[in-house]
């Protein structure tokens, strides 16, 4: 049995963290990211408005939205940069633009284009190494303003690469302090990022952005002197999940179930007591039911070595389908076996279902107080919801 493998393709995960200056509720930094689904592009922009507070926020938002739009319509970053600079409002006193920005465009082949104007340079980490980018300058002149230089760069991203976008609230954090008289600086920030990746090779976009922002905040002695923003684009291997439910129609295939669990490169869930027992028997392990923590309407979950979660079968998957259908946020629901499954589903990119088709006669007994749905149908429904509503990739195999 083969699972869909994504080789040179990888998932682009984008996230950012921010701390706003002083007690301002509105940031002067704006981070936006947009997925162009048809073109399979992801465009992200970080812009920093002059000053802080509402006015800076509005200007930065304006710049970001314009940046996203121009970038979406021009594939050529130099052209996009020119259009942005031509349109950006200019401060009437200082004759400089109201906001600086960095734009990153990732296409479906993970070809990256970067346009930067006066922000701290975007960092690229390949594994834990910060790599140097070849940048070229584009001069943009405009009647009402000093000519400016926009920097453009492109490169081919590989799985495991990360692009880190920073506002100057990060690079200038700690400025004037004893330990960092000239501020944190881009080099030391890069070193810090390297350390974070060395400590945790699969650190998520959100975790890395949070670490950078927190450190900048600490550099400032526990406050934000300027808005501190960090955005991270992470080209990661897709996270795979296996959900196995139901015993195989042919008992000779029992061994296959155990092998699938053993060889699967990702997280594993078994839904169903008999299925769990089969895997336990075939691998010589034991299933322990967690009787202690009981949810009033669902049978308890169990634990076994080598499997991340074991639950009862049809009642639990039925509940999972309902949660997904109602678009419930699993973080706000009581922790029960079904919400645990939903969390794992939403945290995965590719979900492989292996559905056993042997039927338990008791389940069809007309004396059953509840009608038990057919396993196959429920799984089909869950897979369709995941594909259509949650943009996951799924596969179903019957055994």
């Amino acid at each position: 049995m083969e699972f869909p493998k994504i080789t040179n393709n990888c998932c682009v995960e984008v996230d950012f963290r921010q701390k706003n200056c002083g007690r301002q509720r509105t940031g002067g930094d704006v981070f936006l990211s947009r997925k162009l689904k048809e073109q399979q592009r992801v465009i992200s922009v970080l812009s920093d408005g002059l000053g802080s507070g509402i006015k800076a926020g509005v200007l930065a938002t304006l710049t970001s939205v314009m940046g996203l739009n121009y970038m979406s319509s021009f594939r050529d970053p130099a052209k996009a940069a020119r259009s942005i600079m031509d349109t950006l409002p200019v401060c009437s006193e200082r004759h400089i633009s109201y906001s600086t920005f960095s734009l990153v465009d990732v296409d479906f082949e993970n070809e990256v284009k970067i346009v930067e104007y006066d922000n701290p340079p975007v960092l690229v980490a390949r594994g834990s190494e910060i790599i140097r980018l070849e940048r070229s300058q584009v001069q943009v002149t405009r009647a009402d303003r000093e000519p400016v230089a926009i920097s453009v760069a492109d490169f081919q991203a590989r799985p495991g690469d990360r692009i880190i976008m920073l506002s100057d609230g990060v690079s200038q954090s700690g400025i004037g302090s004893q330990s960092l008289p000239f501020g944190w600086g881009i080099e030391k920030t890069g070193n810090f990022i390297r350390e974070q990746i060395e400590k945790k090779a699969d650190i998520s976009a959100c975790e890395l952005a949070a670490a950078v922002v927190d450190k900048a905040w600490v550099n400032n002695g526990g406050h934000a002197l300027d808005d501190i923003t960090c955005g991270v684009i992470y080209f990661r291997q897709p996270r795979q999940l296996l959900i196995m439910t139901g015993p195989p129609y042919d008992q000779k295939k029992d061994r296959l179930l155990a092998d699938l669990v053993g060889n699967f490169p990702g997280r594993k869930i078994i839904c169903g007591g008999t299925t769990a027992n089969i895997v336990a028997r075939e691998t010589g392990r034991e299933v322990h039911v967690m009787l202690g923590k009981i949810d009033p309407d669902l049978p308890p979950d169990s634990v076994m070595d080598g499997v991340d979660l074991i639950t009862e079968g049809i009642l639990t998957v039925g509940r999972v389908a309902r949660y997904l259908e109602d678009r419930r946020n699993p973080e706000t629901l009581n922790l029960n076996p079904a919400t645990k499954i939903v969390r794992m589903l939403l945290n995965s990119d590719i979900i492989n279902f292996v559905v056993g088709t042997r039927v338990n006669e008791f389940h069809q007994d007309p004396n059953m107080p509840v009608e038990l749905e057919i396993r196959r149908n429920v799984i089909k429904k869950i897979a369709a919801l995941l594909e259509n509503q949650y943009l996951k990739e799924t596969s179903i195999q019957y055994i």
């Binding site: 169903g272 309407d297 169990s302 009862e312």
Partner: protein, 82 residues
């Protein structure tokens, strides 16, 4: 020291919907006199539901004895007699 009775409650689908859900509370409802004598564990499925002739779920195992149509009262009764 091992306890006198090992009670295995089935928490599989068939048992759970046919009354087994109540059995999950056995630990709390166990009369004080037996507390020290029983060990309660769960089973993902005792497999009795898949074999004809074992009777009706919910199933519970007390040591090696398989009890069909189990209820808390029936279990306590059994403990009293043994």
């Amino acid at each position: 020291m091992s306890k006198k009775f090992k009670i295995t409650i089935c928490s599989g689908t068939a048992c759970y919907v046919l009354g087994g859900a109540q059995l999950m509370m056995l630990e709390d409802l166990m009369p004080a006199e037996f507390r020290d004598q029983v060990e309660i564990v769960g089973s993902a499925c005792l497999q009795a539901c898949r074999q004809g002739g074992s009777g009706q779920p919910p199933f519970v195992k007390i040591n090696d004895y398989l009890m069909e149509s189990a209820s808390i009262a029936k279990i306590v009764d059994y403990l009293r007699k043994h």
